[in-house]
Symmetry: C3
């Protein structure tokens, strides 16, 4: 694929510096760039790479305008990182468009009563259950699974081997990565004298528009009402969302995050990798949880919250961790000393 | 589906208050209930929802008898949560029964020498290897995988895209959710001057009756002997069980728990989400591990065990975490002061 | 399968004690061994099991030579654990060889333009995309997925239902376990006034030779350049490797480890189960991270590093954890006392 940088400047709404006819055929980093590459500089930390880069064109912010112009062609944008994001989308859409193949692969199994829009694609060895509905432009990847009565909105893609369970819904322009399981049973049991009696999970999963769900991530169906993921939510890989969780719009969780049942997460929240959010609690909007932190109670005020044990060389850690077990008694001893000294 | 509440009271062994001919067509929460809904109240915390609920019938405990009767039809049971669990099971069994389709889907691949009971079902695009045996009433979901020589007990369900590896066994009435992998190789290597030499994993996985295994959960095969999961164990999603682990009957692990190789877990144990249990150790029966806690040594006495860093606003956490690295020396300074003061 | 212990002694380069014609048909533990079993003793901790074992032959180190000879046949090797590893490999290779079935299963979908070596095998219901290349001796398991343009090196095995994404490469003699997803999109978004704008992930994943990747483990494709896993790396189950991570040769991560984007891990590093390594940092060669530890900054020196909260009975933990929130102020109070006392 090739593109003229004049065309790209128009696309990105940026100011073009240099010859609009210069062609690029690749998006790359400043460091690995060749003359056929368009690169971007967003983080001032990497400014030193700018002058040395062999990129055919660079996307920069206004502050870097002079430095970029000094080395060659550039597109100056208010937010170069956002411009880069949009460029990658445009690039990939053009590539995909060139090889799009609609229709249902002959090896796929589409049960009677499923509705697949003629402008949708169902890949090899995929399964679409009775009563499911696949909207226009949606792509069901090879070996993916759409359960009975499930719904896939316009232009949403299920990557190879993703699972959207029975009766679950995902809106438009979503992406479900390989191995993700939407709609497995929530973890619900009643204790009967030490034995667990299963509570059948009768709810479903309802996912809004523009949601991305990572590889091997799990979102459980609700016990009675639905589990809900609002518009614009982004979940990384290997995330666990328990039954009846509600994730507010535009929240994003990094890899390996776990959210227990019935937690209610606000809008625009984030959680770093490996964070655990316990169940039956609420996070306000704009709450940010540091990686590997455990949320044990509701958080009512926006802000950053943390709780992870600092890493240290093993010997130092051992000494401090051992002392930690006496912390409460150390406090008592300190108090006693204070009394004595007063 | 419809059911008369008189029939349900008999089923649940409860006392019926109200007209036995009232029909319900849905199980729901008190809050979202309509007149066609049967709901339950188990947790006194939600008692305030009882009077306001529009449910056609409510399941309550003896203590709520009067309050429930004051608003309409009710079924009074000794343990309303357990009654609710049983109701959901009966409900789902009736629904499933109505649409059960036995037999082997024509797109499934069943190798020669596999034994599939005529009363079992093998879904679309599923695979059953040579020498495997599927008992009566078992359901192998679409795109699921049963390896050569594996065994699936009566009425056990493998959900779509679950994997039961070569030679592994699961007993009766189990559920294996989508994406679960039973019988991948354990993580075993010998160090040969800095390079890892694979130890082939020659054991299998043996799973008892009434076991439920969550979506994308992994249970590794044993190195020499088998990995064993006893009857009634419940594992949530994204749980990792290493080779030669032994999980005692009726233990339950929440999402994202990891158990390292050769750990021996007792009966009736639980672990909260994200807990890590190291290898080559033992937990007694009735040991309960708090979420996100790391078990580093054997625990011989029943009880609740914890070890997670408390969450705090980020600024406070930073100060305390930094001080934590000096905790041992703080203790020494305190000791010195105590000597001086004595 | 049967083997004479004389043959095995030659294979392992060990000294044979006893009758070379003794036949064994199984590799087992000392404890569960029968006369048809060959077992090994590597850890002196299990020495007491030696005399009692019914094994037909035991593999031991030089220090155990006399004790082993006293009970029967033995093979004495410099490193009995390594010898055991090699024995298991030889054993499994012979078993597999006996039932190897090359070729493409008729139910598999191999797109036009894919190159499958005649000495490779593609299992039932597997998918191989256009332009992919599968080398001699490679095995693509049932229901596995090889994306367009992907590359699978000689004798590498994708287990059932593994995914190797579009354009991703794995070298020779690798193993990718069931459910692993190589090449899902990295987690990259630009913030546009509170909404996340996707950055298409244009890199791939490049994996060296002799790499093993665990069940349901995820390795994301790079944003622009590739994510790289060097030769001999071993990843356990449910591991998350973010985009543009670089893992140096012969490093090994236990289950549930998460590595965030652009982390650069040295050679011969290890991480225990559940460890989290944050992004944009570097670990030197020979850095070992304890289980459940969070790496928040670069580590430049080899060694063992730890940071996990010690487990305790719940009541003690609660007291210490509560006090932990006052740790910084305790230090201030101690300082004040010290001043007063000096």
């Amino acid at each position: 694929m090739q593109a003229r940088i004049g065309e790209l400047a128009l696309l990105l709404g940026g100011e073009l510096i240099g010859d609009s006819g210069v062609e690029v055929s690749r998006i790359g980093t400043l460091e690995s760039a060749a003359p056929d590459t368009i690169a971007f500089l967003a983080n001032p930390r990497y400014q030193s790479q700018l002058a040395a880069s062999r990129a055919g064109c660079v996307i920069v912010g206004p502050a870097m305008r002079e430095a970029a112009a000094a080395r060659g062609a550039a597109i100056v944008c208010a937010d170069p990182y956002l411009a880069h994001a949009r460029l990658t989308q445009w690039w990939v859409a053009r590539e995909r468009g060139a090889r799009a193949a609609g229709g249902i692969h002959p090896s796929a199994v589409v049960e009677a009563g499923a509705l697949v829009d003629p402008a949708a694609a169902v890949g090899a060895l995929a399964f679409v259950g009775r009563g499911a509905r696949i909207e226009a432009g949606a792509v069901i990847g090879a070996q993916a699974h759409v359960g009975a009565g499930a719904y896939v909105g316009e232009r949403t893609r299920l990557e190879p081997r993703a699972v959207l369970g029975e009766g679950c819904r995902i809106g438009a322009r979503g992406i479900v990565h390989s191995g993700a399981v939407i709609g497995a049973d929530g973890f619900g049991f009643a204790d009967n004298q030490g034995e667990w009696v299963k509570i059948e999970q009768l709810g479903a999963v309802r996912i809004g528009d523009d949601v991305e769900i990572g590889a091997n991530t799990c979102i459980d169906r609700g016990a009675l009402d639905d589990t809900v993921i609002e518009d614009g939510v982004k979940l990384d890989n290997l995330v666990q969302i328990g039954h009846n969780v509600h994730v507010g719009a535009h929240s994003a969780f990094a890899g390996c995050v776990g959210v227990a049942g019935s937690a209610k997460i606000g809008r625009h929240c984030t959680a770093g990798g490996g964070a655990i959010i316990l169940g039956h609690l609420e996070l306000a909007d704009h709450v940010h949880i540091t990686a590997a932190t455990v949320v044990t109670h509701s958080i009512r005020r926006p802000g950053q919250y943390s709780g992870l044990f600092p890493i240290d060389d093993n010997a130092s850690w051992e000494k401090n961790a051992a002392t930690l077990k006496q912390l409460h008694s150390l406090r008592e001893r300190l108090r006693a000393l204070e009394k004595k000294a007063s």
